[in-house]
Symmetry: C2
Subunit: 308 residues, 2 copies
Amino acid sequence: MSAPVYERVALIGLGLIASSMFWAIKRGGLAGEVTGYARSEATRDTARRIGLCDRVCDSAAEAAEGADLVVLCVPVGAMGSVAEEIAPVLKPGATVSDVGSVKRSVINAVAPHLPDTVHFVPAHPLAGTEHSGPESGFAELYDNRWCILVPADETTDPEAVARLRALWEGMGANVDEMDADHHDLVLAVTSHAPHLIAYTMVGVADHLRRVTESEVIKYSAAGFRDFTRIAASDPTMWRDVFLNNKEATLDILGRFTEELFVLQRAIRMGDGDHLHEYFSRTRAIRRGIIEAGQDTEAPDFGRAAKKP
Amino acid sequence: MSAPVYERVALIGLGLIASSMFWAIKRGGLAGEVTGYARSEATRDTARRIGLCDRVCDSAAEAAEGADLVVLCVPVGAMGSVAEEIAPVLKPGATVSDVGSVKRSVINAVAPHLPDTVHFVPAHPLAGTEHSGPESGFAELYDNRWCILVPADETTDPEAVARLRALWEGMGANVDEMDADHHDLVLAVTSHAPHLIAYTMVGVADHLRRVTESEVIKYSAAGFRDFTRIAASDPTMWRDVFLNNKEATLDILGRFTEELFVLQRAIRMGDGDHLHEYFSRTRAIRRGIIEAGQDTEAPDFGRAAKKP
């Protein structure tokens, strides 16, 4: 265990991401004190009960005051108003960061509120589960996951970026840097479009009249189940993601629809060679993900299941 | 351990499904002898080396001869020719079954070849992993998974159906019965359409020029990873599924596209309420799947990962 990276860290918003940060910070001894704030009184009560944060505050400003690092862990659509609320109390020289899944719109919403005396280093940890809330966090969430730092502009202090990098590495993550627009495109491909597609497929199953909901649920192990896991993610967070990464998501969805139509046509025309060649290519991408350490080879469809 | 359900079982085709059946049959003491055949000599050699099947034969007819149950475990497109090949040697009173993911076209392809002296009871175990081949099987694959029996017509001997049900229950599965057309529609929703969609999304990521393949792979944990697992399934098996369940799959994909367009429009128009409501509904379906015992609540996106 090394010296703390920051003397005081404030977490604004206490859901899955913030609570996992807290436990990872404690595991690594990365901060002297961690304060926390959540808008909902019930969440603050839960946090106090389970020992989430060294000190749970009753306002965002109280939590942020005097902190060396303030991390905004609220839905993307709420970032701007939280930044406005804490701006007056920010300590000169402090760093403000966030964990939003979209970066350009967060920068646009937050930067105008911040005083020149603080550093703004947006970030996005690529980790999560389908659960949400203060009790869903765990210290290992970021181990060997990527965290992308997106410095707001070229004037960002390199020292502030390096310190935030050290915090994320201390929490177990691998850190990359990227500009905001490229981040938003990469995430549209690897996360935002897949989520919308999963939500859609689960919605289709729900609407069908000739297949009952209990049949869909009983027989989900055949592939559908993995879609439902993705489609169980936090609705508020995802609404804000789509509204704030509109162009890149619609671009990828447009390409997806084109591609789907080509495969549908191959099915309709009975073009087996086209299908086989396509499916063989996608299998190779899976191999790359296992080799990159972002998944294990352990078979998943056959996972141990509870007795009903 | 009870008395064997069948004296002799023959498995034609030795991939993931057949090899898991063998280990599950052995675990349960469900058959006196299990013979096996695979078209590829390399697969037969592997089977002999790892002890898969009590006796590995060099032709489908040799494996099927004298068996009380013959299970066709080959891709859907190969079922007809295998049935033709084994028909002359089938023992009177024997049962022929299969494990294909599509049922109407398998019945159409297989039934005409079978003599009146045998019972035909098609089946479909809803279990699998993204791996394939004789070494991918394991005894627990069917534990608490569903197996759907689809008696070819109303004249099927109830005694033959009951015996096949006992075998699948002995291998750990829950058994349902359904007619072929309903089966094909249910599976189009829960399995075939989700697979095609996952294949498509993985293909889109592969084609993008502005996002490199290594970025897609590195950042896959954000949602895309679960699609690649589905899209890594056996290409030959899936080509045959789509070509043989054409109408139901295209029907579901048409509904999917409509629904996707409505959500795309909500994103474009900034209709956050519509998105939030939709995403909240899909979350409830996930809850139903966990309650039905077809998945665990353990968070999956944050699963333990190997160091790269």
